[in-house]
Symmetry: C2
Subunit: 657 residues, 2 copies
Amino acid sequence: MPAPLKTMADAIRVLSMDAVEQANSGHPGMPMGMADVATVLWTRFMKYDAARPDWADRDRFVLSAGHGSMLLYSLLHLSGGKAVSLDQIRNFRQLGSNTPGHPEWGHTPGVETTTGPLGQGLATAVGMAIAERHLAARFGADLVDHRTWVLAGDGCLMEGVSHEAISLAGRLKLSRLCVLWDDNRITIDGAVGLSDATDQVARFKAAGWAVKAIDGHDVGQIRRAFAWAVRQDKPTLIACRTTIGKGSPNFEGTHDVHGKALGKAEVVATREALGWPHDPFVVPDEVYRPWRAAGRRGRKELKAWEARLAASPQKAEFERAVAGELPKHAFARLDQFIAEAETKAPAAATRQHSGAVLETIFGEIPDLVGGSADLTGSNNTYVKNTPILDAPDYSGRYVNYGVREFGMAAAMNGMALHGGTIPYGGTFLVFTDYSRPAIRLAALMGVRVVHVGTHDSIGLGEDGPTHQPVEHLAALRAMPNLNVFRPADAVEVAECWKLALEAKRTPSVMALSRQKVPAVRTTVAGENLSARGAYQLAAASLPAQVTIFASGSEVSIAMAARALLEADGVGARVVSTPSWELFAAQPEDYRAAVIGETEVRVAVEAGVRMGWDRFIGADGIFVGMESFGASAPAEVLYEHFGITAQAVASAAKLKLD
Amino acid sequence: MPAPLKTMADAIRVLSMDAVEQANSGHPGMPMGMADVATVLWTRFMKYDAARPDWADRDRFVLSAGHGSMLLYSLLHLSGGKAVSLDQIRNFRQLGSNTPGHPEWGHTPGVETTTGPLGQGLATAVGMAIAERHLAARFGADLVDHRTWVLAGDGCLMEGVSHEAISLAGRLKLSRLCVLWDDNRITIDGAVGLSDATDQVARFKAAGWAVKAIDGHDVGQIRRAFAWAVRQDKPTLIACRTTIGKGSPNFEGTHDVHGKALGKAEVVATREALGWPHDPFVVPDEVYRPWRAAGRRGRKELKAWEARLAASPQKAEFERAVAGELPKHAFARLDQFIAEAETKAPAAATRQHSGAVLETIFGEIPDLVGGSADLTGSNNTYVKNTPILDAPDYSGRYVNYGVREFGMAAAMNGMALHGGTIPYGGTFLVFTDYSRPAIRLAALMGVRVVHVGTHDSIGLGEDGPTHQPVEHLAALRAMPNLNVFRPADAVEVAECWKLALEAKRTPSVMALSRQKVPAVRTTVAGENLSARGAYQLAAASLPAQVTIFASGSEVSIAMAARALLEADGVGARVVSTPSWELFAAQPEDYRAAVIGETEVRVAVEAGVRMGWDRFIGADGIFVGMESFGASAPAEVLYEHFGITAQAVASAAKLKLD
């Protein structure tokens, strides 16, 4: 590699090696191996301005092999970003630094997504590339015209989600997406060949990608490959044959250099081998200079873009969308919908109500982009007459994600991170198990995506226990910063959708019934009661002895149990709990009032008890599931598992006696 | 298709169509489309005896596209199995029938694994094929020499886990595995092309498979393909171009026939088109006869096999292994290990204790087959000098699963279902999110697999929040029939491993610390205290005012907090809770005694509170996590998040005051 590129790349190597050494923790191998490829990309091809990581039309760079975080921090630092100072690099992996072990979005400007759980960076990048094409179609190439670059390792490509990601990207012909595969033939356990013999080149071609294999240390080949990639009409894979830990004379090319500090002696030996005479965390001006120049390369383009934006009639709308603000009257029609539902009390499955809500708001919120993992009709996620988002016209607002729950969820994260879109996607609630790793990253990052999980209990019926969520509400509610909504009827569905879309920094899961349920919100409330998380739906008409808590499709069972109890002279109140997370955020006196002090507390939910003790206490009565479900019609199952108004009323009375 | 094969296949079509019609629920399209391929397989190639679904050396047939369950029920019925009578078929998808919506292992003899969640049948079958090769190496081809057949649909092949499965199978050259891909170009949402354009033939070749594409309705091509498949030295894919719903004159080839009843008129029209004059649920003798003959085809081979088994010096050992019984003295050395640990009180990470336990038992339990998803050194799953299970000598007992958590978990299910092996596999606990769908199937089926989940909290340290489980203990504990073990030291680790291996019908997760922890079980107990799930580890030495509950790495924190409290004159007892599930199964008086009646109850666990209220009540004190973690050294994080003995003691005292 000719200087100064060689020296510029060595700066990455040394910073990475030294930071890991200082922390005595981290992964030097990948940054040292991919330093050359990354240097060429960041100095010649990537469109960015290091001083403006917020530029909406910048190229995105996703480090899918997130353990190699020092590569990214080095790039951000060297190119002149403000976020990552030398001090931050010195504090690599320490509390409060901008340089955590894996890159974290929202934590370090310039980091486009949180990575580390392998494969997901790639799958998230697919969503960014979808959003880019969609917004280019919506706002025009004057405002949106950029690329998404992904650095992925062998681990990323072994993960199943990589298959979902690349087949979706191939199908959608996302030509602005380029994956740089760090083909270093090493994993943690040793040679890749120990566990994998996949012909990745053939595999990506089979998925509809254009592929080029190069020597990842040959700057000429690297440049030609990038020049080739930007001309393709398909997504591109550049297979970069590299030496892991390149520069470390004794460890390069071995798995010893993957995930731990090199050690004092090898750090010295590497400095010598690279011809890098400077002390740790010292980068000489002659290296900073070309790097900083590279980091300013995009400034002219940025200025031109800003001028175009300023002159654009779409300026306000573009800025609103990219900022993630909802349109001013986003919910005008939805508020009418709620008012009507409160008086007309429509009985239907809550998934159908959700479909009706989407019909109501889809035209008002042009940022919404829907989809389903091949369960469109069941999830009620499609708004009629919506064009499909697909090549070559990406202006459509519905994605056929295919049978790819995890890939869908990760792509949704990427769309939200990209900005300008608010993605929602449907599958059966039970299959949030498949997408869970991406839901977790959404919660960790704090991005607004809405997961529509229909068929949310044994009410799914005949498909049986493989398709019936039992533990999923508990498992999802256990996750920090995730709003789990389980609305009971049309009004609550509308309220919860509103809350989900207003939660800019929190993803949501909408748990919806397959089966028809009666309306329970049949009087005009004048406020969004679901915003409280839990609220008294019905007071006792006699002195209250029993409180019945329920969510979703079981709220009507609670109401029926209340009627049975009151007919027997036992006063009973009902509390609907559409969102535990929002309830937990209420003032203590409100929570105490809702929970109340009746002698008996019962919860009814067609799921497991876990977590309900916060409402009913450890000695409360729980009517729900203790096992997996079974295959039978829904109403038979509710009887079979004893989740009935009669069971609730009887248990309450037994306890009162 | 020549009669009688055509008629035999039509019997499947009509039974499937009629059963779905009767239930008004189910999926007729796939059974009707794949009837011809399945008929040729079950009448000419598959090794089985319909009367003996327990024959250890039978070929396995896995319906990965589990929604087409009527195909399998039809095959089981027609070939003469006892489990699925015509009455059962009439009760398709009804409570208590043998014919649930999706095939359920343990419910219907002849069903080899529970399927429905797409992709997992295929991934499970890979495990069966691994077990077959391994046992063939262990016991010889005289006793083990069979094939695994998989029927997979487009959905299975779109799921990410299919990538993990086929790349693992390709790498291991599992030539006894044959996948029949129902290439019908239809998914629920419509044409496959709407969401996928993958060249599956090229894709499988890239993964090291041999591939043949055929017309799935041409009996000659089908036969030649099977004859070809059994000669390959790689796993094989037969791409069967079929017409979904074949035989339905108006709906075949459309997505309308995928997942619902055809309707009365179309059922009549289909009968006519097929030339099938018989009433619903009537199969004439001339169709039964060749089917029953086919179902008996393997009997001679079975008898010969039984004779070989009877004569084999390995008879007893083979039967023990296949029955899933542990060797008589499986734990002799482990009991010594426990006794030593009780006196020597070794301090180490619990993952290291787990490694030591494996060293101790691995030689005693030859059925154990370990592995890791590329984190061998971190998971402490490898027992030194163990040969790797790999082609061509499959006798090794350690699988390099690669970066494939989900594929590993599904393969482990397949190995357990196959019989003869007890699989365990490691990854970081946080990545049970990736393998969760397979853990769920293990729990639903009730198979003995052990998931080793190390780095089980913020104690993981610098890798940061993407790698730190916070909600995972709660999410796993929420799942029915899953034992979640979180042992505190060497003694508990050994006890929990013993319990996991003794639980024949329950999978286990072993949550283990990355960081070193002191011993807490330092006196001779004389019994497996972990078997109680929770137990009093330390009584109060003063009148007890406080009870501190903890698990795993926080038990020593609880003990330190107890010391602080007692030094301040406050009597405190400590309860260790290595398994909530086993505790829930204890008699009520035991549970009440363990929970006790002290004025203050505190729980300390480096995870979320969810579920802990059962121990401490809704008003108890919880010291743990309320958010995701952070990147920093472990001890810094414990301080930062306030999970310390001081915090526990202070909170308890504050409440007492």
